[in-house]
Amino acid sequence: MSILQRWRRSRFVRYNLILVTLLLVAGFVWVYPFLWAISGSFKTQIGLFTSGASLIPKQFDFSNFQRAWITAGFSQYFFNTLLYSSASTAVELLKSALCGYVLARYRFPGRNLLYSLIVGTLFIPLASIILPQFLVVESLGLLNTQAGVILAFSGAAGALYVLLFANFFKGIPEELFDAAKVDGAGFVRLFRLVFPLARPVIATVVIFNFIATWNDFNIPLIYTLSAPNLRNLAVGMFAFQGENSFDWTGFAAGTVISFVPVLIIFLLFQGYFVRGLSGAVKE
């Protein structure tokens, strides 16, 4: 047995050396455009155009960040985006967890109809119905308000998340509920008991929704047309392109500011994420 193990181990070391080398090369090519954008945020305007493919700035220029953060108003956009993404993710989590829980564990009239509607709308290009959505927010008097953007975000997605939660809650053993019921747990207590168990799904929803809303362009653009101070980073960047006769390095700096939080979220939740999906995509 130990011979077999040693043989295996030495083989794995060889595999690793080959694979890791290949992955490093492929990975470098893969992230090159990404790294190039990051390095652009440290280059001078002239340096960017003369350095071509080089990743290391000849001369570091940190004023790009200053320009993006203060002059171009990215600080305001940053906090708007943080508010939009956090608030809408919270709403998404709540509404889809509650609905998914009930769909998974209870029978009620219209349950099958609701299921079919949710699955049916999963594959519909929702971008094509953005004007009726706009009319809804307008009729509530929430155009050009932060609440309006959050509401539009919270309403736009969700069908997939409901299915993820429903599938997860279906998999929880019946005995757990029975035991809790013997202890006198009511409807809400039961939900509060199992909700924390859904961590993998929660992580999935947080990552998906956070990235999607953080980088979303359409909704904030349309809902904040006459309120530039309510823009998010993506729309702010777009405006930046027009206002400052193509300030590439400032633009790159703005982007670095904008993706750091998403990267942190991904690194934090990565482990749970894969597990959450594997339980959920199954059916």
Partner: protein, 332 residues
């Protein structure tokens, strides 16, 4: 799915077994019903207001010649007029075929590639797994506006990095303008989109691969089964059911392509990279006068197209799953 419903349905709405206090039983049943309603309410309100109603409204609008601003009136009713005009518009058909090509090509590239990488990055013995996963995931966190800027710059024929590299190693004699050339623009967009969306599909596959027990591979290695056979006879049959769902998501998400087209080519050069969502956007929000009714008709046809696509794919997927199950024999 059915099994769980069966077992859970025995208790929640039916009275607890062995109880003798009728009034409490009754009130519990009523309160359970009330709680079910309250739990569904947030989702139902948002789903109704932001998905169901807009869908119905889109169908209704598609029968009107309407700019999206004035009140809808009977005078503007044009029946199937928008649809007839659409079917006679060559640009619509070009967008239609481009969208189809984009969707199929994009999916055919991104899915096998991301599956291949997901298999490698889920090997237990591989070093620096997390590092590599992060690397291949990372493009997806870039805002689409920046993706457009980066590649416009890198593919630039005069001083872009790609041309510099290809000229440098002698593969090219003259710089090429991939995004500015009618025959290559759409393909460039397809590949850049693969790059951008790749991480998401890699994660999907990694999730699917979690369901394949590691022991199967270990046995196969001892039996000196080569990697390709391992993939064919162990991995593929085990992930087949999820592969159907992932393929479906891949195709449909690709049908919706919008951001990369806007930021890279704006449908050009000429109209060579027009896609349906861009066509809709132009009609509804860009070309004056706004033609929201016409855009809605396009959206409706688009949804029909997506539905046909999903159904075909679903059928094919079901048949394939069935056949791979048979090949896979005992594993599945």
């Amino acid at each position: 799915m059915d099994k769980t419903i069966e077992s859970s349905s025995s208790h929640p709405l039916s009275p607890p077994v062995g109880g003798t206090r009728t009034p409490i039983r009754l009130s519990r049943k009523v309160s359970t019903g009330l709680w079910i309603f309250l739990f569904l309410l947030p989702f139902l309100l948002l789903f109704g207001a932001f998905t169901l109603w807009p869908l119905i409204a889109t169908v209704v609008f598609s029968f009107f010649d309407w700019n999206g601003i004035d009140a809808l009136s009977a005078q503007n009713f044009v029946g199937l007029g928008n649809y007839l005009e659409l079917l006679h518009d060559p640009l619509f058909w070009q967008s239609f075929w481009n969208t189809l090509l984009f969707s199929v090509a994009n999916t055919a590239i991104k899915l096998p590639l991301s599956l291949f990488l997901a298999i490698i990055l889920t090997r237990k013995w591989l070093w620096f797994k997390r590092f590599f996963r992060t690397i291949f995931f990372v493009p997806i966190i870039l805002p689409i506006a920046l993706v457009g800027q980066i590649f416009t710059f890198l593919l630039n024929p005069s001083n872009g990095a790609l041309n510099g590299f290809l000229l440098g190693i002698g593969l090219l004699k003259q710089p090429i303008d991939l995004l500015g050339n009618e025959s290559t623009a759409l393909w460039a967009v397809i590949l850049i989109s693969v790059w951008q969306i790749f991480g998401q599909y890699m994660l999907y596959w990694m999730a699917a691969l979690q369901n394949v027990p590691e022991e199967l591979y270990e046995c196969a290695q001892i039996d000196r089964v080569n990697p390709w056979q391992q993939f064919l006879y162990i991995t593929l049959p085990m992930i087949a059911p999820m592969a159907v769902v992932i393929t479906l998501l891949g195709l449909v998400n690709a049908l919706h392509v919008f951001g990369v087209v806007v930021t890279l080519t704006s449908g050009g050069p000429g109209t060579s990279s027009y896609v349906l969502s861009y066509y809709i956007y132009q009609a509804a929000f860009q070309n004056l006068p706004f033609r929201y009714g016409y855009a809605s008709a396009t959206a409706v046809l688009f949804v029909v197209l997506a539905a046909i696509f999903v159904i075909i794919q679903w059928r094919l997927g079901r048949d394939n799953t069935a056949s791979t199950r048979q090949i896979g024999g005992g594993h599945a």
